[in-house]
Amino acid sequence: MGRGIGQFYPGMSPLHALDPRAKILASVGLVAALFLVGSFHGFLLVAVVVLSLLIVSRVPAAAFLRFLKPVSFIVALTFLFQALFSREGNILFEWGWLSVYEGGVSNGAFLAARILLLVLSAALLTATTPPVALTDGIEDLLSPLKKLRFPSHEVAMMMTIALRFIPTLDEEAQKIMRAQAARGAEFSEGGLIKRVKAIIPILVPLTVGAFCRADELADAMESRGYRGGEGRTRYRELKFRLRDGVALLFVVLVAVGGAVL
């Protein structure tokens, strides 16, 4: 499977061993904590906790850097805007019409760090939890909504299938691109209209193939007795153990601590 989209890194760390539901709630807790903290000390507490969790997860640092890459532009932009246009505190330096204030720089750094930590908290979850366990966890957490007729099993099954087929579709797209390239198609040349037009010979067969595959998958599932979530048992039972409770309690304490400090 392609590493590009499956962001899970197999491992044996304590974080990998936690129940997915505990991890989902804990990362929600960390994200909440990052929004709740107002003081420097509170922020420092949450930051230290997130960073030490990164180490505990034993996921290679390069992997986390890859998570950060897509947001690095936003982070840089946020910092620059704050640094250049905020007028708080003492002037750090002036250069023509441009003047940079102390408050601006510290605000910018604070916001940038907050975004980075938000992404890292989410990355901690997806890097240490297999996608299937993640959707199992989400299904379970959403199951109380069944009383309100919310189709939590179906939603989770859709997510599982979608995740499962991302690499398949990617592979299929590569194949089609090569086949069209052999017939002289160019995908990286010409203006916008030309490029959009060049996508049609890929998109049409890809869509046709996806629908065929959906039909086949539905047949295969039904022929193996799939009837939806009603009365369905699980191969992997989720078990909420003591350590999961401890982990959750820890995160709650961090969040409260961060907010109070």
Partner: protein
Amino acid sequence: MRIEVKNLRHVYSPGTDSAVEALRDVSLSVEGGEILGVVGGTGSGKSTLVVHMNLLLEPTSGEVLIDGMDARAMKKSELRRRVGLVFQFPESALFAPTVEEDVAFGPCRLGLDEEEVRRRVSETLGMLGISHLASRSPHALSGGEKRRVAIAGVLAMGPEAIVLDEPTAGLDPATREELLDVVRGLKNAGMSVVIVSHDLDEIAEVADRVCLMERGEAKAVGAPEDVFYEHPENAPDTVRAALAVGERLPGVGRPVRFAETVEVLERVMGG
């Protein structure tokens, strides 16, 4: 046209822990008017080998020569026009609303005028025996018909060599025979043909020379009787039958094609 690959080596995702050496030191060639059959188990490197022939995949090392010229020095578009490549299950890349338009895609990309495109499309459809499908939607056709449309789409570009990766996989015997006749026709018209197949019987029927791939290496390249009789574990039923009979009766020789095998066996077994 002569296609030659020299000391070809290809490594997928080099430098990572998932690096795979799919081809190592493969050298072979195919001439105009000749059919080269490539056989070997799944994962032996057959498909990786053939996508190098028009450089859709670039070799890690080694070279591809087209009429003695380094293919890397040629223009990509020119190279892809001259060496047609038909992938496995090529029908999965059909996209246009009608068969005609789909087959016209390649020739249009060559920048030919409308009349020439139309001439080529109808000529190719005729050659593959699917002229009657011209205005149908490719998605509504049978598997065999789709396959022929997809092959027509490459042939309409007027290549001098054609590389077919498992062109008969999953087809019924009648369609398979028709397709092999088309392949023979291309050879007789002077094209260089490379055909990859799991079906040894089919390769025995059409190939002038055979390349046996194993674990990324060309284990044997040569005349079908040489390759098959030296590697009976990868030989068609005709060769196995001849070997089995030859153990007891002299004079069987080394037949490969079905008709000649029948003839030889009838002779040695006394009619």
